[in-house]
Amino acid sequence: MVRSHVLVCGGTGCHSSGSDKLFDRFEAELASAGLSEEVKVIQTGCFGLCALGPVVVVYPEGAFYSQVKLEDIKEIVEEHLLKGRLVKRLLYSETVAEDTILSLDKTDFYRKQKRVALRNCGIIDPENIKEYIAYDGYMALAKALTEMKPEDVIKTITDSGLRGRGGGGFPTGKKWSFAAAQSGDEKYVCCNADEGDPGAFMDRSVLEGDPHSVLEAMAIAGYAIGASYGYVYVRAEYPIAVKRLKIAIEQAREAGLLGKNILGTDFSFDVDIRLGAGAFVCGEETALLNSIEGKRGDPRPRPPFPAVKGLFGKPTIINNVETYANIPCIILNGADWFASMGTEKSKGTKVFALGGKINHTGLVEVPMGTTLREIVEEIGGGIPNGKKFKAVQTGGPSGGCIPAAHMDVPVDYDNLIAIGSIMGSGGMIVMDEDNCMVDIAKFFLEFTVDESCGKCTPCRIGIRRMLEMLDNIISGQAELEDLDRLESLCYYIKENALCGLGQTAPNPVLSTLRFFRDEYEAHVVDKRCPAGVCKKLLSFYIDPDKCKGCTLCARNCPTSAITGEVKKAHVIDTEKCIKCGACIDSCKFAAVSKR
């Protein structure tokens, strides 16, 4: 008896702008309009267009309402749901046509996207296993258990060309076959949901929007390698993801899709959750295993690799959330289907979290081989405020900055490595002309210095020395030779650090040195920050010809560094000036500048 579905985004982005309250208000307004029986409200995962949140989509019309506020709900219920009149002022502008609304697939943001890992995000209620089943959920597990041998499953995954989505890009099928080849009946399946890159929220969104897809894939992996137990290692900072995952596990157990003798077969598999306390290094697979075991989250030397000797010393596979989310589709649609998407060596799609200086902040999934330009300019809607694009940072603290000259590179694992960055887990931070590349490198290095576990010397001491060098550069105390010294230290650390964290920590510095050496040199030689970011190299100056002596800047200066008589040119005392920029913001005659 339900004729209309109201989908309210319950992802973290929309949640933090108040979507949880929208849900209750909808229920209340529908009840008072007498529509509760015929209109159903569903809380879903992320739609992707987080910049326009909170998002509400009403079916069957497919009306996409953006930035919905509590007070808008009465209008949506009375106008749209009761009388059938769209509330045009709230519709996402790109979907509004003459007298009808366009499908979301036709908008710039969604047109080039291909949702595989995110297929159910924003479509199903993640807290209801039946909705997952409606979209062929657990059919892949059923197919694997009833029609395929474990080796067939591994062959399908291998043939599909799926590579690890956590960043390393190791072939998933190969990883599984190593673990399957180990003898012994005690093996483990782990899911790495310790997404720690600043600005990355791909895995979080999958767990929040479609937790069952990960559980189903873990069970399939368990069947393939001969494991009967799995752990999801997820950070405690993701409360919504953890909650939905717990509900999903409960529901799957109740439905008999986890537990003993799944679907009447001999196969048993169960999953438990381990919460991470937010240490970045625990996203490294061997540190993650230590943490699950209850030990300190230090990396272990490899080999032995986890596939041979992993959790509790037993053969273990560890895959990332997004990798798992692809698995059920591959089993159901076949390896050829998956391999038909993407580039020669990188198959399928990749989810990216778009952030920074970009209009459509949000979550996108595109086929491998889509160019950076398409992602940033078309899907992302370009740079706000008419600013000029400078670089895009991929791969978080382990990645690098890609300049405008490489914008037409098709994105895949190997191409990104060739231009000095990495795919990483999928964070993509866009920078414009106002970003200083030395400052960006320092930002990421500060992060890795904080997160270094301290076990190996190159990382513990080496990257701290790098940070000191960067500090000297941005404060104008470095020499040109310091740039070469910095570069050679980078290579030394890359070669000698114990785990991925240390080996990749120099990447942000190396890539900015490679593509933006002129900016480093400006800091070192000219003692100048071209983007006007590094405060120690800036001085503020009032142009006496432009200054009208209105005293506004002097009144706004927090340290009383500006003096001057009314209607006469003012002067900044650079000794007192703290370079906060309040004078620039307050001046109506553009007389204040930094240089």
């Binding site: 004729r3 989908l7 079916y59 009388k83 059938g84 979301l104 979209y135 899709l257």
Partner: protein
């Protein structure tokens, strides 16, 4: 759930319940006049009768929606059905009792129920 058949049965049952949630083309659109005149004349029960009938018959490629007043308030409740080719049929004085016949004859078999249309009732 102990067998594959049970899983499949649950999936098929759930599919009909979420059919409304899709972007894209529908085979046919049923628009019920839900302006003040329509509601006053009893359009609400007609709308729910259509939804119920389509659900019973598992017709997920048909969309039921509301529309405003088209200016023939004396004929309310008015229901317009758009076929895939854009042909419009206007039914007047629709009651929940007339709905199953409209669905069976027009929606399923493609033959409009002439005696309920505006053409047959105008004079």
């Amino acid at each position: 759930m102990k067998t594959l058949a049970e899983l499949q049965a649950l999936r098929d049952e759930m599919k009909t319940k979420i059919g409304v949630r899709k972007d894209g083309e529908y085979r046919m659109r049923i628009l019920v006049g839900m302006a003040t005149c329509g509601i006053a004349a009893g359009a609400r029960p007609v709308l729910t009768a259509f939804v119920k009938e389509l659900e019973t018959r598992k017709l997920t490629d048909i969309v039921v929606s509301q529309t405003g007043c088209i200016g023939i308030c004396q004929f309310e409740p008015v229901v317009e059905i758009y076929d895939a080719d854009g042909t419009k049929t206007t039914y007047v004085y629709v009651t929940p009792e007339k709905v199953p016949k409209i669905v069976a004859q027009h929606v399923v078999n493609g033959n409009p129920v002439v005696e309920y249309t505006i053409g047959a009732n105008a004079n």
